[in-house]
């Protein structure tokens, strides 16, 4: 009974903690611009994050090695340090965008001045990260993030043509006005794939597995939670695309502000829809900010071999603790300078996919290594999927920046 509850809570936590502001805006715009044509990318990305997350979790449980520990060992110092610097930059960018989005939500709800909201968000994140144990952080923000299901219910309440939605999952040509829109479609495909397969989620998941004391006996739980949790989390992504297609596309409305998303629950459920949406967005963006800050601190500590983890007292993992505090403060300072959080998250999502192969490859190599993994090594299916996704994310990584430039930052 206790195990069942643990697994159930783990799934709900993964579902509620799966969304961040980049996935929200990209998925809404994907539906607005291309109707259901990008639903196959959601399927592809979901399977990809399940494959990557399951491998990273299995490696953490068996080899007791998190992603960045492997990465330095396998890639060497030069490539490893370059990957670390790029990953930290991307983490800071993503964290700052999430803090900016939290501040926007606070301003929409309370009417405070934007910069005051940034400081309030920073204070809340620092206190929550200090006071709560690791499991408490996961549960609080993951479970409260489930309020985001108001978007799923809103999408269903809009009564889309379910036949068209089902057909949308089959790859098909997007509805475009000109040939240049195909380039924009390719950009959105790469960006959506990146938003679903954000690497910080896997750094956090695998380090969290070690924080939770996973052993080889937890492999089945890891497999079940990663498959179910990430898949259910992608339901929200699908609902954003449906909302974009149903509500925003007829008006040719592009989402450029986090608050625009709230109009869908408001349309279906009035003020209570707004309350649920803003509360869900607050907790889910806070959760994403914490995951990115901790992922950065994990990466730094694991790369240099410093003691790390919330399971250690702050004094015993001092550099790790200072790491996530500095990341939060840096991220908040970036937002205080006045940059647009949506623009920052756009760049962070593009650069995330550029560095994704550098951390994915060591994980795949170790997951296939019988010396490390013993009887828990990749089977034929895991190997085939692992190699398929390595090729796919490498192609996405190579095309991301050219597509960003060609599409004027995704505007067309």
């Amino acid at each position: 009974m206790k195990n069942f509850l643990e697994v159930f809570l783990g799934i709900l936590t993964a579902m509620g903690g799966d969304v961040e502001v980049g996935e929200l805006t990209f998925a809404l715009n994907a539906g607005s611009k291309f109707e259901y044509a990008l639903l196959p990318v959601v399927l592809l990305g979901t399977l990809g994050i399940v494959v990557y997350g399951e491998m990273a979790g299995r490696v953490a449980a068996v080899a007791q090695q998190p992603v960045f520990g492997l990465m330095r060992e396998r890639n060497g110092l030069a490539v490893g340090l370059l990957t670390l610097i790029c990953a930290l930059l991307v983490n800071v960018m993503t964290c700052s965008a999430e803090i900016g989005a939290v501040a926007v939500v606070l301003e929409l709800a309370a009417g405070w001045h934007y910069r005051l909201c940034i400081l309030a968000a920073l204070a809340f994140l620092l206190v929550a990260s200090w006071v709560l144990p690791f499991e408490g952080i996961e549960r609080t923000f993951g479970l409260m993030g489930l309020l985001m299901t108001v978007f799923l219910v809103s999408a269903i309440a809009m009564q889309p043509d379910w036949g068209e939605v089902a057909a949308g999952f089959l790859p098909h040509a997007p509805p475009v006005r000109s040939s240049s829109d195909y380039v924009l479609f390719a950009y959105y495909a790469v960006a959506l794939l990146s938003a679903i397969m954000l690497p910080y989620e896997v750094y956090f998941y695998s380090s969290g597995g070690i924080e939770d004391g996973w052993k080889p006996s937890d492999i089945k739980v890891n497999r079940f939670v990663s498959i179910t949790g990430f898949t259910l989390g992608s339901l929200l992504c699908v609902s954003f695309i449906l909302i974009g297609a149903q509500m925003l596309r007829p008006l040719q409305l592009d989402v450029q502000l986090p608050g625009t998303a709230v109009l869908a629950p408001a349309q279906e459920f009035g003020r209570w829809g707004v309350v649920f949406a803003l509360t869900g967005m607050f907790f889910t963006f806070c959760g994403a900010a914490i995951e990115t800050a901790f992922s950065g601190a994990y990466a730094l500590a694991q790369f240099y071999g410093w003691p790390w983890g919330k399971f250690r007292a702050p004094r015993k993992a001092a550099r790790f603790t200072i790491g996530w505090i500095v990341l939060f403060v840096l991220a908040a300072l970036i937002m205080l300078s006045g940059v647009d959080p949506i623009q920052v998250v756009e760049y962070s999502i593009v650069f995330s996919v550029v560095i994704l192969p550098l951390t994915y490859l060591p994980t795949l190599v170790v997951a296939r290594d019988r010396i490390y993994m013993k009887q828990h090594v990749n089977g034929p299916l895991a190997n085939a999927l692992g190699v398929f996704y390595l090729v796919l994310i490498t192609l996405a990584a190579l095309s991301a920046i050219p597509l960003l430039v060609l599409t004027h930052g995704g505007k067309g």
Binding site: L77, A78, L81, L82, I85, V104, E107, L108, A109, A110, G111, R177, S178, L251, Q252, L253, D254, Q256, L257, G259, T260, V262, L263, A266, Q267, G270, R271, G273, V274, V275, L278, H408, K411, G412
Partner: protein
């Protein structure tokens, strides 16, 4: 020897990263100073059309009392700030003669959008007035979409 080689590699990496950052900064400065192109005006029209469309949605939902007051005021302020930002991006750069008429139409659309958004933020429970403002924002969005399509040819 190995340490020296590693240090050299790291130094070269630092040089490459610094060079990339300098080039990026130079490109950003150049991009902000070059004259307006057709794409810039088209994208501005598209952005403004989108802000007007969101204002229309807010107006319609306000008419049905589906939005809290605080959300309406703050979201409209965000939209108004974005409209100002688009106008400023057009003012700050040199306009070629061939684009002058298009830029003037976009600026006019921006001014009308800003005015209607301001009107929306001052309505207090007046459903009929909110519906009227929503209709006008719908018309502005339509005009800007037409301009965007003309500029994309």
């Amino acid at each position: 020897m190995r340490d020296a080689a590693e240090v050299r590699t790291l130094l070269w990496q630092a040089v490459v990263i610094l060079l990339a950052l300098v080039l990026l900064a130079a490109w950003a400065i150049h991009a902000s100073r070059r004259p307006l192109r057709s794409d810039d005006v088209r994208l501005s029209a598209a952005d403004l059309a989108s802000f007007a469309a969101e204002g229309e949605v807010i107006g319609r939902q306000l008419a049905r009392h589906r939005l809290p007051r605080m959300y309406v005021e703050e979201e409209i302020q965000f939209l108004a700030d974005e409209v100002v930002s688009v106008r400023a991006s057009l003012w700050q750069r040199k306009t070629p003669v061939a684009l002058a008429a298009a830029v003037a139409r976009v600026q006019e659309g921006a001014a009308r959008t800003g005015a209607e958004l301001h009107a929306l933020s001052t309505l207090h429970g007046d459903g009929e007035a909110a519906r009227g403002t929503a209709e006008r924002l719908h018309a502005i969005a339509d005009e800007l979409h037409v301009l965007e399509r003309v500029l994309s040819r």
